[in-house]
């Protein structure tokens, strides 16, 4: 007789969630990525494992370019290195014609090592060392000046090199949808940015040829870009009017939302996330409306990161433990004192009876072999968690814990999952943006990363970390160099 897959005997008190199965929606199974079976990927490369779809990367950047080219042909995309600077990922975008947008000397070096010439690099960010600025100037990078001290450093460098330096000025704008990112650049609305442009023109050999504004991140309101575009266009025209020369490019930064879902976001991403066409319409429509007729339109630069890479990234991970998590108010000890949360409430209506907190007032929970140290973005977003095999039983609200020995390591407070067993694989998605670059080595090694090419071939693009990657940079003082067993006298007696 063929035996059935095991399903543990469980009982759950019916809550709002389980009483209405529709509330949980349908969680599709994700057995394969771009036709490559999840089980095979885990079998060959081990887990956890980040997987990127090259086809998805290329489809996204092409869709973005199509949308903007349709309304504003002079648009150029720059790949935001900080969003994901795995070399293979960067090179896909460079192959698709993207410039590099970097925010540190390290990222600048990475872009150069990826074969990007300096003049195709936008050098952004609030901290650029004197040496980094010199290299960027010498190599013709598009420096976006952020603050007074950088202006002064570049002015001195221009004198030293006895030449003009063309640059962009970063500004911030209140779009009304976000906390104003006033950490960066100069205020475009109170005259500060215009004064800086005039001051540079009159007192230095710095020539402002670009205006840069990055309004924020995960902008679900495409209209914010109309507000930002309005401000940067008016600034560019005012600068020209003041005799500071022509602004040749407007850099509207990034911030386009991916189809991730914020914590507390009511609408699903399919409904809440604007498309590239929406952003293009708001942004480019504003520029074209305000730019004087007869004058060449400025080039539009965009540094979109998240919206291009997030959905191309998956994390494959396995269940290592299955738990029942006691929900608040479900503690039998508390129930004994009449404080059993919902049971206590029911008791007031005579329905408490023998029902203790333990009886069914629990939630399924699973522990995965990956934690929030490699899923940094779970602090803000709730990725979907898909079973990698057809579920044997119906969906249940399930808490998804990571593998760290830290109570904060919760990947999803409540995901809809079937009854899971140890060894079952799940796919977490989307995770392509920021998780690689912001992941930290903590408690366990960072996992390998593979990319599936459009032909379905799987390429290792970052190997799993090993002890040497962690300990290599360390040094042990000579007096601690001797290894061996702990000295007997140092042992603590427990008897």
């Amino acid at each position: 007789m063929n035996k059935q897959p095991y399903v543990a005997p469980t009982i759950r008190r019916v809550s709002q969630a389980t009483a209405n199965p529709q509330r949980l929606g349908r969680t599709p199974v994700m057995e394969a990525i771009d036709g490559v079976p999840v089980a095979g990927l885990l079998g060959e490369h081990g887990g956890p494992l980040f997987v990127f779809s090259e086809a998805a990367l290329r489809a996204k950047i092409r869709d973005a370019r199509r949308a903007f080219a349709a309304v504003y042909p002079k648009t150029t995309f720059a790949w935001s290195y900080k969003t994901n600077y795995l070399n293979a990922i960067c090179r896909v975008f460079h192959q698709e014609g993207s410039l590099a947008e970097v925010v540190s000397g390290f990222e600048y070096e990475k872009a150069r090592a990826n074969g990007v010439p300096g003049y195709r690099i936008i050098f952004n960010g609030p901290h650029k060392t004197a040496g980094e600025l010199r290299r960027a100037v010498e190599e013709g990078a598009m420096i976006q000046v952020d603050n007074r001290d950088e202006v002064l450093a570049l002015a001195k460098l221009a004198d030293e090199l006895d030449r003009e330096i063309r640059l962009g000025i970063r500004v911030h704008v209140d779009t009304g949808t976000h906390a104003v990112w006033s950490k960066f650049g100069f205020c475009a609305e109170d005259g500060e940015a215009l004064r800086m442009i005039e001051w540079m023109t009159e007192n230095t050999r710095l020539r402002v040829r670009g205006v840069h504004c990055h309004v924020g991140t995960f902008m679900l309101d495409a209209g914010a870009y109309a507000t930002a575009a309005d401000a940067v266009v008016r600034l560019a025209l005012a600068a020209a009017e003041a005799g500071c020369g022509t602004v040749e490019y407007l850099n509207l930064g990034g911030g386009f939302a991916s189809r991730a879902r914020l914590h507390g976001q009511y609408l699903p991403p399919e409904q809440a996330t604007p498309g590239f066409d929406d952003y293009a319409r708001e942004l480019c429509g504003t520029i074209k409306r305000l730019w004087p007729e007869g004058r060449d339109l400025p080039e539009l630069l965009l540094e979109t990161g998240r919206a291009l890479v997030d959905e191309a990234g998956y994390l494959l991970t396995k269940v290592v433990a299955v738990k029942q998590r006691m929900l608040a108010g479900g503690c039998p000890a508390l129930a004994a004192y009449g404080k059993g949360g919902s049971n206590g409430t029911l008791a007031a209506y005579g329905k408490g009876g023998p029902v203790s907190g333990a009886g069914g007032n629990r939630r399924n929970a699973v522990v995965l072999d990956a934690g929030i140290q490699i899923l940094y973005t779970t602090a803000w977003y709730q990725p979907s968690v898909y079973p990698a095999a057809a579920p044997a039983a119906g969906m249940q609200p399930t808490t998804v814990y990571g593998c760290l020995c830290m109570n904060i390591d919760v990947i999803r407070e409540e995901a809809a999952l079937p009854e899971m067993n140890v060894g079952d694989a799940v796919v977490i998605h989307p995770v392509g943006a920021y998780n690689i670059t912001q992941s930290m080595q903590f408690i366990s090694y960072r996992p390998a990363v593979v990319m599936i090419d459009p032909a379905g071939r799987v390429h290792l693009i970052r190997r799993r970390e090993v002890l040497e990657d962690v300990c290599g940079p360390e040094q042990v003082p000579e007096y601690l160099a001797e290894t061996g067993e702990i000295a007997e006298e140092a042992r603590v007696s427990v008897t």
């Binding site: 399903v7 005997p9 469980t10 009982i11």
Partner: protein, 82 residues
């Protein structure tokens, strides 16, 4: 009609594992195995018999099945059903 119905007999179950306990007004959801176990108990099967049924029908080692079944019995005892 049973003159001395137990709490277990009072329970109303459907085929999708939904349970209503008329003594408390509470509702519960059972897994497929949980439903099979509860029905077996209602039909008078012993704990050992329930365990044997799981082992016979499902791909599971005896220790795991025993662990989970004991946990299940513990929970329904807390509910006053056993």
């Amino acid at each position: 009609m049973d003159p001395n119905p137990t709490r277990l007999d009072d329970l109303m179950l459907n085929d999708r594992g939904f349970v209503f306990d008329p003594n408390t007004g509470e509702s519960y959801q059972l897994s497929t195995t949980g439903l099979a176990c509860l029905r077996s108990l209602q039909h008078g099967t012993t704990a050992a018999g329930v365990l044997a049924g799981i082992l016979e029908a499902q791909e599971v080692d005896p220790l795991t099945a025993r662990w989970d079944l004991d946990a299940f019995f513990w929970e329904i005892k807390q509910l006053g059903w056993l």
